[in-house]
């Protein structure tokens, strides 16, 4: 076992790698703060509900993508993890789709 670097699932990291990571974390942090301000500012615009929902979810998706991609290292993660998550996301959308099916004209639920 080497004690030089933690394996962590994304290979060895040099000191320069970690420094680069840290710079990315700071940039992502700033982006998340700006997006939080945008989320709140947009809510004061009194947009129509469909537009407000679209904008709020879009900004939340971008923020979530930044957290998952960089803080959770998904941008450099192994394919198996990505595959597990892709399956999870697919079933997540099935779950979110259930209300839509329920409100349709008895297509699924009589």
């Amino acid at each position: 076992m080497t004690t030089e670097h933690a394996s962590g699932g994304h290979g060895g990291h040099s000191a320069a790698d970690i420094d680069r990571h840290v710079r990315v974390y700071i940039s992502v942090f700033v982006a998340l703060m700006v997006l939080t301000v945008i989320t709140v500012a947009v809510s004061y615009l009194d947009l129509a509900t469909p537009m407000a929902v679209t904008v709020a979810l879009l900004v939340a998706l971008i923020k979530g993508g930044l957290v998952a991609g960089f803080f959770m290292h998904l941008v450099s993660e192994k394919k198996l993890i990505i595959a597990v998550l892709a399956l999870t996301v697919a079933f997540f959308f099935v779950l979110l789709g259930l209300p839509v099916i329920t409100h349709s004209n008895g297509f699924w639920i009589p």
Partner: protein, 196 residues
């Protein structure tokens, strides 16, 4: 018996067991919160009228909590980066900050809940509050759970740094993945409950 594949990666998965384990757990968490979000959509779209979150909830307080949680995600990842740089003292500072920020989040939530309960707004009052208490309550439990694990690694669990620094670093990374997930859930809870 020694736990296998804590620091070296399995040939078949290319991952340590801890890494695949935490991601599978997080996948189950996605489905847990997914079911609750789906329930929220179902109840909201089926209701004849629904209040905007900002007419009932405290947006500035929730915005503050959003900033707190995002900041805690940064300190968490910096704690891991400190271990990767083999700077244990710095790790302790960042991990301590993460735990404290989690505590700040919970204290703010306590004041928020107290206010609602004080003016007789209970989960049984209406569907909006039922959804609000369920989703934020479950999320709060996750924050508390994450804090407990982080506190273990900051305190007694940190002894492992002396005996097996690579495994310890991996465990902190896994704990961090959970913490970031908690942040991720809040990123979606905040606009859907408070702003829409």
């Amino acid at each position: 018996m020694e736990i296998p594949y804590t620091v070296e990666e399995r040939r078949d998965t290319g991952l340590t067991n801890g890494k695949i384990g935490i991601w599978l757990f997080l996948a189950s968490e996605v489905m847990l919160f997914g079911a609750l979000f789906a329930s929220y959509i179902l109840i909201r779209t089926g209701a004849p009228s629904w209040p905007r979150g900002d007419t009932i909830l405290d947006v500035p307080l929730a915005t503050f909590n959003t900033i707190v949680l995002i900041t805690s995600s940064v300190t968490m990842v910096m704690a891991w980066a400190s271990l990767m740089r083999r700077k244990f003292g710095t790790f302790r500072i960042y991990m301590g900050a993460t735990i404290l920020l989690g505590l700040v989040f919970l204290i703010v939530k306590y004041f928020e809940y107290s206010h609602h309960l004080h003016i007789n707004e209970y989960p049984s009052t209406n569907n909006f509050l039922a959804i609000y208490y369920t989703l934020t309550g479950l999320h709060m439990l996750h924050v508390a759970g994450g804090m407990a694990v982080n506190a273990w690694f900051w305190g007694p669990g940190a002894k492992q740094w002396q005996t097996d620094p690579v495994w310890f670093t991996n465990r902190v990374e896994h704990s961090g993945l959970f913490w970031h997930f908690v942040d991720l859930v809040w990123i979606f809870l905040f606009p859907t409950l408070y702003l829409l």
